[in-house]
Amino acid sequence: MSNDARQAWQLGWLAAPTCIVLLFSFVFPLALIARYSVNEFVPGELMREALTPANYARFFTDDLFQRVFATTLGISLASSFVAVLVGIPTAFALRRFSPRWRSVLITLLLFPLLVVTVVRAAGWVALFNERGALNSFLLALHLTSEPVRFLRTAPALIVAMASSLLPYIVISIDSVLQSVPRELEEAAMVLGAPPHAAFRHVILPLILPGIVTGFVLSFILSMDAYATPLLIGGSAIRMMSPMIYVQVSELQNWPFASAISIVLVVTSLVVSGLITMAATQKKWR
């Protein structure tokens, strides 16, 4: 081995401290909850060592948890879908600005991403509250005679979630749009294609990879969402992440919380894999 090659090989040891930290606070902990997810929960004595599928069976058969699972999937798909619907035109609108304005608008887009979710969710609570900004506005304009209940409804939760997913969607569509000439769409329409056909047959196939990336990322992020479902959905619309916390903080049920965690991770991966596969196989032309 030459001196250089040996040195390059030895440099690898610099990763050792990081590997040790990740081993002890990432790999081992995750392996431990995977193991605990098949343990038996005994009220009063935390848990008993076992190899039982009971926790998983309970999650998929109990009415309450079936509903939580379906709600988590439904709200995540709906929020990602709404974000894509709003995000596509936004990404197109962004390309009409001069580079200077464009970078201002991209920066504004990134700003919500850096503001912690709980603050944005709190903002939505202030807007959606019974005596919140939106209701004051509707009442002042006599559009409604009594306050509308927004909080603890699915549409409000979907709007709040979609708003926090929008930046990701716009960024991922914007990055594929860079390679689509601006004139392409207008050319198709000038040649007589109706706008929807021009979009469907010319533009959509080109930006589809960006849409899929954005959608999958949004879906995973919504599946993981904690603060927004808790503050907007409350007790009416319950999702999996807050459920994991409740299982530990109120019931000390480690095995069941571990099982929900594993289901959450696996479902995110499987569903996003399926979406990616379906989108890349389908013929769009």
Partner: protein
């Protein structure tokens, strides 16, 4: 006629884009607005505007304690993860050893696990290890910092390895050929060249840790809570203008971080298509 359609299409996309920016920024605007209410409760329209809520925020010992804890944890996690991340980046960018590519993607893996799951796993593991060796680990500041290191490491590795990749390796080789030992070369050649990406990594790591909610939920205890958790509790139980003031401080910190990051790495490359959260 076709051009008329183009015009209508442009109008429609612009309208949707305005709506998109409205729903992205409205909740943040609402929080800042609320924090200026001259009132003890949130009533719209407010009786007037003042900075009263900021006074009551700073007068509350609970708020101050959580600010202090969040700051200490964020600084601790940033320092550790910056040191570890820089070393790891040198290893995967400059080193050539079997499996270095796999290692590079393993280092980003914590980003793919939901915060609440990672938080639960670390809590249970620390609790069990602590019980086995007879030292309380879960629920201490050390455990909180360690958990936040895991959360911030993917980002410090991403920023520093991006910085390292752009540095011409010949400069390092030249210094070493001229007789500088590796450590000296790093300190006098590599380090100054990657300063911008180190600052960006530090800013992003700090913000990630300072904003971390799910990761900390299980690890905090009575009398030891971080700002995002206090915010979550107060918004659900006792949402008043002083809570909005505290949230506005978070907004301000994020704005400063965004300005620094945009200057250092450019707006479009902060996330680089990767997930955060």
């Amino acid at each position: 006629m076709a051009l008329g359609r183009v015009g209508a299409g442009r109008f429609a996309t612009s309208a949707v884009a305005w709506l998109a920016y409205l729903i992205m920024l409205a909740p943040i605007g609402a929080i800042v607005w609320l924090s200026l209410f001259d009132s003890d409760i949130i009533a719209i329209p407010p009786p007037g505007y003042s900075l009263r809520s900021y006074q009551s925020m700073f007068a509350s010992g609970n708020f101050i304690a959580s600010f202090r804890l969040s700051l200490v944890v964020a600084v601790g996690a940033t320092v550790i993860s910056l040191a570890l991340g820089t070393l790891a980046s040198i290893a995967i960018v400059r080193g050539k050893f079997p499996g270095s590519d796999i290692l590079a993607s393993v280092f980003l893996a914590p980003l793919a696990v939901p915060g609440i799951v990672l938080g639960l796993a670390i809590y249970i593991f620390f609790f069990k290890v602590g019980a086995a060796i007879g030292i309380r680990i879960a629920g201490t500041m050390t455990s909180l910092i360690l958990a936040h290191v895991v959360l911030t490491l993917p980002w410090t590795i991403r920023f520093t390895s991006a910085g390292l990749t752009t540095i011409d390796k010949n400069l390092e080789d030249a210094a070493m050929t001229l007789g500088a030992p590796p450590l000296r070369t790093f300190w006098h050649v590599t380090f100054p060249l990657m300063r911008a990406s180190l600052v960006a990594a530090a800013v992003f790591a700090f913000l990630t840790s300072y904003n971390a909610l799910e990761m900390s939920l299980f690890l905090v205890g009575p009398g030891m809570t971080t700002v995002p958790i206090v915010l979550l509790q107060r918004v659900s139980w006792n949402f008043d203008p002083s809570v909005a003031a505290m949230a506005t401080v978070q907004v301000a910190i994020s704005a400063v971080a965004l300005i620094i990051l945009t200057r250092l790495v450019g707006a479009e490359r902060i996330f680089g298509g990767q997930r955060s959260s």
